[in-house]
Amino acid sequence: MTTTLSTRRAQAAPAGTTSVRQRITERVAPYAYIAPFFLIFGVFGLVPLLFTFYVALFDWNPIGEHVFIGVDNFTRLFADARFWNAAWNTISIWLLSTVPQLVLALGLAHLLNHARLRLAVFFRMSMLVPYITSVAATTIVFAQMFDRDYGVLNWLLGFAGVEPIDFKQSVLGSHVLIAVMVTWRWFGYTTLLYLAALQAIPRAIYEAAAVDGAGGWKQFRHISIPSLRPVIVFTIVTSTIGGLQIFTEPLLVSRSAPLTCGPVRQCQTLTLFLYEQGFGQFQFGYGAAIGVALFVLVVALATVNYVLSTRIRPER
């Protein structure tokens, strides 16, 4: 590498003698550098997304016929109780996992944001451990810990006189279980993002507030929260996009009926429903229609959340 650099430099040294070919290379270079992303995103992101809308209009069997049926898949979808069940499950799990996660992260970031905190590195690193643990492993462990008969949690609750809770079998219980797993995985990462933003706030602002008699809570509400606005918006939008596409947790929670997340579809999410119809039943057209519905849901909720969260204003 060093030799080619020096020879090329020697050739190019006299000004004005750069070859035409080299000049073209230089002109094209920026586009060549960004091309891989656009190529990859185009082939594996954009084209499949657009193609989803197309396939949704067909009765599309992966190894058989493709028959154009217009909006029939959608009429069928809206009349399908399983679809509405999956849609409500998705929204419920998303709310149960997002709201506590962001609140928890905010509180922990506030606690960590202290100049004299000891073991700061240890706390930060520990909170990133769930993020590096795979969803598959997480799900298997949590499903066991939340087991009705032999789970640690119910065993501990037993001391408080609580009857064993069958998390996996009930609707709310299975949603809570999945939400706990999602929260566990992401709250540390979110905490670090919030902490970084907190540390960027000049100390003088807090000092001035303290002089004016503002206590810890008031400082938190009137200085920290407004300053965190960009990162809060970012985390709300990304956790909306991610939280509505949850798949692995519900698939692995139920060992007996994985594709429906239990016998009565108590925690089947839209992505899991999509998988069940597309790859379990080989109805690519119907599966794609679920994808379109999910797309609309994600875009709608992400937009609503974006608009709502940008309303957080600095308060005086």
Binding site: L5, R9, Q22, T25, A29, P30, Y33, P36, F37, I40, G45, V47, P48, L49, F51, T52, N113, H114, A115, V121, M125, L128, V129, I132, T133, S134, V135, A136, A137, T138, V141, M145, D149, Y150, V152, W155, W184, L193, L195, A196, A197, L198, Q199, I201, R203, A210, P230, L244, Q245, F247, T248, L252, R255, T271, L274, Y275, F279, I290, L294, F295
Partner: protein, 280 residues
Amino acid sequence: MTKTIRRSGERVRWWTYVLLGLAVFACLFPLYWMFVVATTDTATATRLPPEIAPGGNFFHLAGLVFTTVPFVRSIVNSLIVAGTIAVGHALLCSLAGFAFAKLRFPGRNVLFLIVVLTMTVPTQLAVIPQYMIISSLGWVDTLQALIVPGLASAFGIFWMRQHLSTTISDEILQAARIDGATTWQIFWRIAFPLVRPAAFVLGLLGFVTAWNDFLWPFIVLKSPEMYTAQIAIKALQNNYNIDLGLAMSGSFLATIPLLVLFVFVGRRMVAGIMDGAFKG
């Protein structure tokens, strides 16, 4: 490294440590529990009161994992996929981030806006056409079906652009140009070495994401020899005759490589995430 400015003055209250300690416990206990069930005899998962100390049965269960599924192969597959993605992703995103941060060319701002906007596109719901494309490429049940789509990301480009525009001054680049360096030489000899730490963390994040990915490998991979570690865990769980200890053991074995990695580079990961795009 900029000096961090934090909440001033007052000393840390004791309950701060209690609350943070609880958070740490919540983060680490599930992993400890995974280890406990993976090391005691096969009936531990179904006994009350639960065992809370690890037993000596780890090697028995680990042995079962290796004979039930081609586990070594699946770890190797995961290493190939995650390793290639880590290196490729860091390089390609640095290159694109360099172009957006330091090169002037027509259409730059519009193209960068498009990159940022693609971050909001939920592509996971397009798995059916994605599968069709992979299928028409003849890539079903191959590792490149996992590797190629993960080689570049909008997040990575955004991240590297941020670092490149703050770390490297235009004067250095201009000086290099006057010396007759080509754009590629400027990138490879000057810019990339200066942002290597950021690229390293980006590579780590890519590695972790690829190692833990589930949905896409679950759809694309068919034969047990092609399984990644995560799909192997799922296969262990499918095995009804053998109890949960086996799945736990597999989960634990598949988590060890990342834990080991984390011990060495976790600090840099934390710093990298905090040093990312949202400071200020």
